[in-house]
């Protein structure tokens, strides 16, 4: 009988497993932060334009966190406050951090592009009727939807793209 974790002894049935451990609670807090920030920016933008500043700020947080994890705001919030105080329990899973970092970076790039679309009307001066504002908001909403899908169902589109690019030899995955 071949139970889960007890692989079929034939060598071609072996599944390569990650040797590092990733705390998935940190990822969940990160995803929650992304969803919350985009929602506040989106809903707030209906009442006041200053809320839209949250989008470029989020892009900076995501991009900086990708290249310097010690500066990843939401993850640091988890590691320094939520985890020590016991508000969020750790959930270590055998996994690799690189795909998640890549996904975060992708999210950061899309939010940065969204921010460009959102703030492009400042150049023309017509903030209310510019169609680019809607495009920017739509892009940031898609990032929030993908973060929510990852949060709720564990499906990480950015990670899939990372592995596909790796398989195609475009990045070293």
């Amino acid at each position: 009988m071949d139970r889960v974790g007890e692989l079929n002894p034939r060598p071609h049935r072996e599944v390569v497993v990650a040797t590092t451990v990733v705390d998935h609670s940190a990822l969940k807090v990160n995803q929650t932060g992304i969803v919350a920030t985009v929602l506040v920016a989106f809903i707030g933008s209906a009442f006041g334009r200053p809320f839209l500043v949250l989008l470029p700020l989020l892009a900076v947080v995501l991009l900086v966190g990708t290249f310097a994890p010690q500066w990843a705001l939401f993850k640091q919030l988890y590691f320094r406050i939520l985890k020590p105080s016991g508000i969020v329990k750790p959930r270590p899973v055998q996994d690799r951090p690189e795909p998640h970092n890549f996904a975060q970076g992708m999210g950061g790039v899309v939010v940065a592009v969204a921010s460009l679309f959102v703030f492009a009307p400042l150049l023309t001066g017509d903030f209310r009727t510019s169609p680019t504002l809607g495009i920017g908001l739509a892009l940031s909403l898609l990032v929030a939807v993908l973060a929510f899908v990852n949060l709720a169902f564990g499906y990480c589109l950015g990670c899939q793209i990372y592995y596909r690019l790796g398989r195609a030899g475009l990045i070293r995955a």
């Binding site: 071609h12 049935r13 072996e14 599944v15 739509a138 898609l142 564990g154």
Partner: protein, 136 residues
Amino acid sequence: MNPQLWALAAAGVVVLAAACLERFRAARARRRAVGATAAPAGEPYILYFTGESCTVCRTHQEPALAKLGPVRIDKVDAIEERGLAERFHVYTLPTTVVMSTAGSALHINYGYAPAPKLERQLAEARSLPAGATATA
């Protein structure tokens, strides 16, 4: 039109299109794969396709499989065993296939399949007479 409504509608259309595409892909793959065969066994069993890149496999699917009663589970690396994965049209991970005793695929779940769903499918597989094959 209000830019917020416009953005909501655009994002909604993209999400809806992605969901429809996923349903279509799953239905087409299932249609092609149901009835595909692997080794026969004394009892219905599960082919569990996974891989290194599959985090959902470790966080969701394996705990669900561990909840099942005594059943044989063949864990297959979809990348290493591409031939077997292609036979069952595995396009996403995890994929679980409930196999009949005759060794033909009765149910194919693309994506995470919770334990109660797998239990139901296994119960159905056990209720079939030996040698029966899938019809849908």
